[in-house]
Symmetry: C2
Subunit: 328 residues, 2 copies
């Protein structure tokens, strides 16, 4: 266990003394200080104001399979609302059944992340949105072709015009990204038992879940899993057994980034299995044990594992109520 | 124009005199007698009573991609709720991107059809439901594997048990079909302008749509497109330019069935393009013209086409309000 942990909360970095001597069983408030309830919305970037028109258009585009080469794959294929806005298979299956090498991250609360993709190669959702459309093993459509496809429909002309008023030719790549990112920023899961507990509803978590929360702090999990989405959005080296993925190194070429992946959010972790960059671990308790061993040098006991897993179940929030759009 | 048309309405066959001499512009009521508003529910088969439990389970199975070989294709992939419960591409794209040779029929109102598939090879939705799961170019999963997959989830054990009470081993193929068919029987689109017009709301259709309705009767379209779903569920020979599909002949081996296809429903036809067995016709007016030429030996004028197409737009009903299920 690390006695001093660098904890980043928003823009503030602070060193907190963590340990059995610093915190006692009754000091729930001090444990709770490590966390914050999920806000209703993530930060909205200055360059892409959040409007109802963009959200509505973004929803249409998110569910639009005709901006894929096959005509049947949309963002919602892998980020499936029925499956925690992910796919619950080890690694993504895309165009012509091609299998990728990374697990699909959930879109839920992704607006709270400070970098996108497992390797953080895009800084924000706007940067992320256009990647899978073009990726040959995912949706496999060139942006020019996607734009031409959208322009075939009057209703897209109308929706882009109202979402991006004053533009002569609003159906363009940047606006597709703006709209999809805007929709995604609404896909948050507030009011989990954990959030309600943090807001003062002591009965919202079971005593086992509270024990898990304490252990989560005491053991040091919170060093990386902090902030509203329980991720520092930073990169940590971690060699998953069987994985040859070089992770962040692919982006930076920096040896220090070899096998480093962005800390995933733990929000809704119980419903976004399987786990890790290659989705090779199905069970949450196995994922927690592996993390304890690799990141903390610690073998959790069965009781500890049960508490941590119970706590993670308390991180499942209210799923966004998204109605299926009627596409043209 | 055929002066005497064999009109099947339910179980009753009757010969009606149709023509300019029999019906006049003012005789709206007589035209309306050819039609019936869409009932709230289709006929429920004696062997598969409709229950809330089966509907809920069926919805889960309909959206469940893990009963496909790839893990990402569900019934909802091709029967996409965002796309009129069809796919709006010429022919279906399934496992590993394989392209089928027939257009995906909409699920909407399919409980009103007296046979399923373009070639009618299954009599009912129960018979239809298991086909695409197993088809190698669609979902590509053996039923045994699908059942094993479902059995991995506690929640499916629970849902099958309450949907099929008293069974020792309810997660079985027949019950999968029963549940999916039950869900599908709820996917109906009542209260179209046409339905409201038939119920007495004279302002529900425009005068052009009313003209289209009359022409639809006078020209003889109603001979095959009748009944609540505007289909006789029968098979008619029709060689679509460019199509080599032998249609119903594949099922019966009867020469009379060569190139015969089941009359498709015209309910929601404006939102279930492209048209015909190979989805080769994009525009509704072109589809109507082609039908006039092939089935009625008639070239519609531009005005007539406009009226008929306007009428068909009046057949778009209220889409079922289906929330996306939370899958395990």
């Amino acid at each position: 266990m690390t006695p001093g942990i660098l904890l980043r909360t928003g823009a503030t970095a602070l060193v907190l003394a963590v340990g059995a001597t610093a915190l006692h069983a009754g000091d729930i408030a001090e444990y709770m200080d490590f966390f914050e309830p999920l806000p209703a919305l993530p930060p909205i970037p200055a360059g892409n104001s959040l409007t109802a028109e963009k959200i509505e258009l973004g929803k249409m585009l998110f569910f639009e399979p005709r901006i894929s080469g096959s005509g049947v794959i949309s963002c919602a294929t892998c980020h499936n609302p029925a499956l925690g806005w992910s796919d619950r298979i080890p690694t993504a299956v895309g165009h012509d059944g091609q299998v990728g090498n990374r697990n699909t991250p959930t879109v839920l609360n992704s607006g709270f992340l400070e970098s996108q993709f497992w390797d953080g190669r895009e800084p924000d959702l706007e940067g992320q949105a256009l990647g899978p459309i073009q990726a040959e093993i995912e949706m496999n459509m060139e942006l020019g072709a996607a734009i031409r496809r959208l322009k075939e429909f009057d209703i897209y002309h109308e929706h882009f015009a109202v979402a991006f008023p004053g533009e002569d030719d609003p159906i363009r790549a940047e606006n597709i990204a703006f709209a999809i990112a805007s929709f995604e920023r609404t896909l948050n899961t507030p009011n989990s038992p954990f959030d309600r507990f943090l807001r003062g509803d002591e009965g919202a978590m079971t005593s086992q879940q509270v024990d898990g929360m304490k252990l989560f702090v005491d053991a040091g999990c919170v060093a990386c899993h902090n902030g509203p989405a329980l991720t520092d959005s930073n990169f940590h080296r971690f060699q998953l057994p069987g994985s040859t993925d070089e992770g962040r190194f692919v982006v930076t070429g920096d040896d220090a980034d070899m096998f480093a992946f962005r800390t995933p959010t733990l929000r809704n972790v119980a419903v976004t299995y399987p786990y890790f960059n290659n989705g090779s671990v199905d069970r949450l308790q196995d994922a927690v044990q592996l993390m304890g061993q690799q990141m903390l040098g610690q073998d959790f006991s069965d009781d500890e594992l049960d508490s941590l897993v119970a706590f993670m179940h308390a991180l499942t929030g209210e799923m966004p109520a998204v109605t299926i759009p009627a596409l043209p």
